[in-house]
């Protein structure tokens, strides 16, 4: 029997520190078989959650990266034209023999159309991520990444898949999922996702973590970093986030920085340390200067 606390512990065992909302969302998604739609600024662990879940639950991870112009041929399924052609070429003699028995053209067409389904069978179907996750041998985690990059049509396409876990293929009929995957959709909020899709999902917003949780995240990933330094760097980064930066440092930047500091064996945060490692937290020239200004004021 899985509980919310158990989810939290599982995630923690792989170094993902979840708060109440995240743990509840995962718990509900597993029990209710509903997709989770995660929104939030870049680098707070939206994709990371899916990866960690796949790891701790021992599910295969099927990932679908969305982009502008993605369509069902890239997301659901596609017919393998080349293979179909190749088969017709190779089977030409067989076909000739098969059709010579026919008395006239009408019968030949009838005979051929009777075998038509051969060429539109699962043999010639290329499974794209969504179908692959539906038909996988065990339950999987389906990660639909950055859904806001795709268009309206693609969203509409997802509606059927996500609410009923089925794919309609005109030539084959409706294919139901063997195992309903745990679906995670992520969005950076550059475009408003339609209400129809939102309604089918659990909506989870992951923002920047609180002080304690962020320290815990750093500690979980880089245990060799001393407590004091972890506290110091997280406090500093929280101040940096309050600056009006073009790209405020996110949790992933915190972790990068922690990594850099462990490699450098830094003992405590000083202006010199920040100066030499600022590239890990600021990603624009203008931001860089602002961060250094702040460091000069805060640290000596």
């Amino acid at each position: 029997m899985i509980t919310e606390q158990r989810v939290k512990d599982l995630l923690r065992s792989d170094g993902y520190i979840a708060d109440e909302a995240i743990a509840t969302a995962v718990f509900l998604a597993l029990r209710m078989e509903k997709p989770i739609l995660i929104e939030g600024p870049p680098g707070v662990g939206k994709t990371g959650l899916a990866k960690t879940l796949a790891h701790v639950l021992d599910f295969p991870l099927v990932r679908l990266q969305c982009y502008e112009g993605i369509d069902e041929g890239k997301a659901l399924y596609d017919w393998e034209y080349g293979k179909q052609l190749l088969y017709t070429q190779l089977l030409r003699t067989q076909l000739d023999n098969y059709l010579t028995v026919a008395a006239d053209l009408r019968e030949a067409v009838e005979r051929l159309s009777a075998e038509e389904s051969l060429f539109f069978s699962r043999n010639f179907l290329v499974q794209r991520p969504i179908l692959r996750s539906f038909l996988s041998e065990k339950q999987s985690v389906l990660l639909i990444d950055e859904i806001d990059r795709s268009g309206d049509e693609f969203e509409a396409l997802l509606l059927e898949c996500l609410s009923d876990f089925q794919v309609s293929i005109p030539e084959l009929g409706v294919i139901h999922a063997n195992h309903k995957p745990l679906v995670i959709l992520t969005s950076n909020g550059t475009r408003l996702i339609s209400d129809a899709l939102r309604r089918r999902c659990l909506f989870l917003f992951i923002g920047y973590p609180e002080l304690e949780r962020e320290v815990a995240i750093v500690r979980a990933r880089y245990p060799e970093l001393c407590d004091e330094l972890a506290m110091q760097m997280v406090t500093f980064l929280r101040k940096v986030r309050e600056l009006n930066l073009r790209k405020p440092p996110s949790v992933s930047e915190t972790l990068d920085w922690a990594h850099v500091l462990t490699i450098l064996h830094a003992e405590r945060l000083s202006l010199a340390v920040v100066k030499s490692t600022v590239g890990a937290i600021a990603k624009h020239q203008a931001d860089l200067e602002q961060v250094l200004d702040l460091a000069a004021n805060e640290l000596r």
């Binding site: 029997m1 509980t3 034209y81 080349g82 309206d152 475009r191 408003l192 909506f203 073009r246």
Partner: protein, 480 residues
């Protein structure tokens, strides 16, 4: 439990959170699953299942705290004394706001006009003012005050109206004229822009689909279908159009339109990256191009710089004539193709040279010219407003009162521009050559590029009636 939850959902709906019955059912079945620990996880559960938009989170938190308050003392979860205090505070705040709105500038101009000023009174005042050259500023103020009285009460979404002209009135040397965007404001504007982009996106796609027609590119098609044994499953076409439509925007940043230009810049900034090439200029007395700045600095910082007067001097009065002349001399020659021109401003020239010949030349070069003004039609000819004159050179003059209208106008323009692209123009021409001979309808002169069934003016007098003659009859003669 279901009943409590339904009441909770009702409370949420009253606060404006949209919760569907399906979501309510989800919440019930989620609660029935159990396995939760404590208040915080129930809160998380309800938020996950009921609220589907991060902007609705604050409302949810408020309702949740009130509904499932831990102290049972008060129904509202509030001490009665506190509540009374808060209510008094709110009422007082409203009164203060009303007073602040009525109080005009006190140190430079000594002319106060009531909110309830009538049109006649205004005109009388204007008649007086026109003889006096130095009081141009006062005259603008009077007009704005009168204008402000005519508007509807501002709603939270209307930033255009909400950013009050009074902010600008109380400025002193070195004062910031307008407040920088708050985060919420910025988010709201982003939302309007997002919505518009979604609406426009479909058109862009349709245009692209139309663009994808053309002659077959044989070599590329064969290359593309190599893996299909040269059977042309995927076609490759020769595309005719490679460039995107171009747009030039001239924004008046003087205080009379300050609230509109901020949104305009944000909008264009967003548009620029996605669908078209935009060159943006701002002007007050002099004209400055800010395209590069828009690209490199966050919009918020840029607006702040503009408000501080570091780009154009904000203490001058706007001078449209000078601006058109400068634009014509310095920039018009460098424009590639036929850019559509948008001018955002109230056309108040402060009694400077009109220089409408420059505008005419700009129009000749431009494929399309649109003028957006925040002022109602009645005031176009009052005082120093030259909109009646300038309007005759534009394809279209539109009144925009708030952010939504502005976004709609830009959307329209975008469609026109796309449809107006040389390739489509040629196609349209082929389609209807004989229709050009239709008699000119003077009453929709300003809308000659759009279908005639959309009236621009709210109250359209029927052509030929005496009212029509006085309003439109003599002045509008079609120019060729």
């Amino acid at each position: 439990m279901e009943r409590i939850l339904t009441r909770f959902v009702t409370a949420l709906r009253e606060r404006g959170v949209r919760v569907s019955p399906g979501e309510n059912l989800d919440a019930v079945s989620a609660l029935a699953l159990g396995g939760l620990s404590g208040r915080e996880s129930v809160r998380a559960l309800l938020r996950l299942t009921l609220v589907k938009n991060s902007s609705e989170f604050p409302a949810f938190e408020e309702v949740f705290d009130r509904f499932f308050s831990t102290t049972q003392s008060e129904a509202l979860g509030m001490d009665p004394v506190d509540m009374l205090g808060a209510m008094i505070h709110i009422v007082e705040g409203e009164q203060l706001k009303a007073e602040a709105k009525k109080r005009p500038d006190d140190d430079s101009i000594k002319l106060a006009v009531d909110e309830e000023v009538t049109a006649e009174e205004l005109e009388d005042l204007l008649g007086m003012e026109e003889s006096d050259d130095d009081s141009a500023g006062a005259e603008i103020k009077v007009q704005l005050d009168g204008y402000r009285g005519k508007l509807d009460a501002p709603t939270p979404a209307d930033y255009y109206q909400k950013a009050p002209p009074s902010v600008a009135f109380h400025h002193k040397q070195g004062d910031k004229r307008t407040v920088a965007f708050t985060l919420a404001e910025l988010a709201d504007m982003q939302e309007v822009v997002c919505k518009m982009l979604v609406r426009m996106h479909k058109d862009v796609r349709r245009m692209k689909q139309r663009q994808s027609r053309g002659k077959l590119h044989v070599i590329r098609t064969i290359q593309k279908n190599y893996r299909h044994g040269m059977v042309p499953f995927l076609l490759s076409l020769r595309r005719k159009i490679k460039d995107r439509p171009r747009l030039v925007v001239l924004c008046d940043v003087s205080f009379s339109v300050s609230h509109a230009y901020r949104f305009m810049l944000l909008l264009l900034h967003t548009l620029h990256n996605r669908v078209m090439d935009v060159r943006s200029f701002i002007f007050n007395k002099e004209l400055v191009e800010i395209t590069a700045m828009l690209r490199n600095t966050p919009v918020n910082c840029l607006l702040e710089t503009i408000d501080k007067g570091e780009i154009v001097n904000m203490d001058d009065n706007s001078d449209y004539g000078n601006v058109f002349q400068t634009f014509k001399q310095k920039h018009l020659e460098n424009m590639r193709g036929k850019p559509a021109v948008i001018i955002l401003g109230d056309g108040r020239n402060n009694y400077n040279e009109a220089n409408d010949w420059a505008l005419e030349e700009i129009r000749e070069k431009a494929g399309y010219m649109l003028w957006l003004t925040p002022e109602e039609r009645e005031t176009w000819e009052r005082g120093d407003c030259l909109l009646e004159l300038y309007g005759t050179y534009c394809d279209k003059v539109e009144v925009v009162r708030n952010v939504d209208e502005l976004s709609l106008r830009v959307e329209d323009l975008f469609r026109t521009v796309y449809a107006d692209h040389p390739y489509w123009r040629a196609a349209e021409r082929r389609k209807k050559t004989e229709k050009d001979e239709a008699p000119v309808a003077y009453w929709n002169y300003y809308t000659k590029k759009t279908p005639t069934d959309q009236p621009v003016f709210a109250m359209q007098p029927s052509p030929g009636s005496p009212e029509w003659k006085t309003r439109f009859g003599v002045r509008y003669i079609k120019r060729h």
